[in-house]
């Protein structure tokens, strides 16, 4: 649907009723390494889609070092405080609409000032 201007948007949409699959990531706030939380597998799929996780391992609900490494790299790329944790500012960024092109290709990122970063699996 195309709207020519703001006033043509139906009133219902002023409710900010955005529902997308990524909104569910918000409930993962505070998760940390070592935990097994329902929903982390979807987050791993998100990171895999955008190039932060490579390889063919199963996306489990374990908060493992693969996920932590992906979060670290994501935080660097998006100028967030690098904590390796699912803090609120990181999750706010993750759920934003975005381009479908990956940020990293073959585990290499040239974002963040051209610094080469690698997400590795152990």
């Amino acid at each position: 649907k195309f709207y020519s201007n703001v006033s043509s948007i139906p009133p219902l949409q002023f409710l900010n009723a955005t529902q997308n699959a990524w909104e569910t990531f918000s409930k993962l706030a505070g998760c940390h390494i070592g935990e097994n939380i329902n929903g982390l597998s979807k987050l791993k799929q998100y990171f895999r889609r955008f190039g932060y996780i490579t390889g063919t391992n199963n996306c489990t609900d374990d908060f493992d070092d693969v996920l932590q490494s992906a979060i670290n790299t994501y935080q660097k790329n998006f100028n967030l405080k690098v904590t390796g944790k699912l803090d609120s500012s990181t999750l706010r960024q993750i759920v934003k609409p975005r381009c479908g092109n990956p940020d990293m290709i073959d585990g290499v990122s040239e974002m963040n000032g051209g610094k080469k970063l690698r997400a590795t699996e152990r």
Partner: protein
């Protein structure tokens, strides 16, 4: 700014690029004007020219709106989430998510934040995806067009210094204008520049 691996770009003989719309979308002239404006923003700072073609046959760039799975292995995910994707040169595919509510803004406004988060500014996304079509990857500079994310309702259509430096590294500046930065800043010109 960043580039795709191998730094692909349109070859030097291809400075005049044509683009066409998938006919099944039946886009209005108003929508087509949005893309024309988006192409102009990149043309102003490079030696590239963009011309609309009525035919898909032979067009360098093909633009289309699609929903869900659409044959390239990168299905769209409904409203919000991923908004669009584009290929690196010289493939020329620009796909936008047909399930979004797209806002066709006034071309006069360059920056805006709306309280409506469920609509996406079409020109903002178009300018970003054209950056990919020309060879730019994502940038960590939040003000840059090539930053990967945009909030619903936001409008960001003006190229930032980072975008201009990146694209001019690949193609050089616009010989007919002062289109911003004109000298590659990250690497020696002999390794980048506008050569083939």
């Amino acid at each position: 700014y960043s580039f795709f691996p191998g730094k692909p770009r349109w070859p030097k003989r291809k400075r005049d690029l044509t683009y066409a719309y998938v006919p099944q979308n039946n886009l209005t002239d108003e929508v087509k004007r949005v893309f024309a404006r988006a192409f102009t923003r990149w043309a102003e700072v490079t030696p590239l020219n963009f011309t609309r073609s009525e035919s898909l046959l032979g067009a360098d760039i093909v633009i289309g709106f699609f929903s869900g799975e659409h044959g390239d292995g990168e299905p769209f995910d409904g409203a919000m989430g991923t908004l669009a994707h584009a290929s690196s040169p010289p493939t020329g595919m620009l796909h936008l998510d047909g399930d979004e509510d797209w806002l066709i803004s006034d071309g006069e406004i360059s920056r805006r934040v709306l309280p409506v988060t469920s609509v996406v500014d079409l020109e903002s996304v178009a300018v970003h995806e054209i950056g990919h079509l020309l060879g730019l990857g994502h940038s960590s500079v939040e003000d840059a067009i090539m930053f990967p994310a945009i909030s619903g309702g936001d409008r960001k259509v003006e190229l930032a210094k980072d975008d201009i430096e990146g694209i001019q590294h690949l193609y050089g500046g616009n010989p007919n204008g002062d289109g911003g930065v004109s000298k590659p800043s990250r690497e020696n010109e002999s390794t980048g520049g506008a050569g083939d």
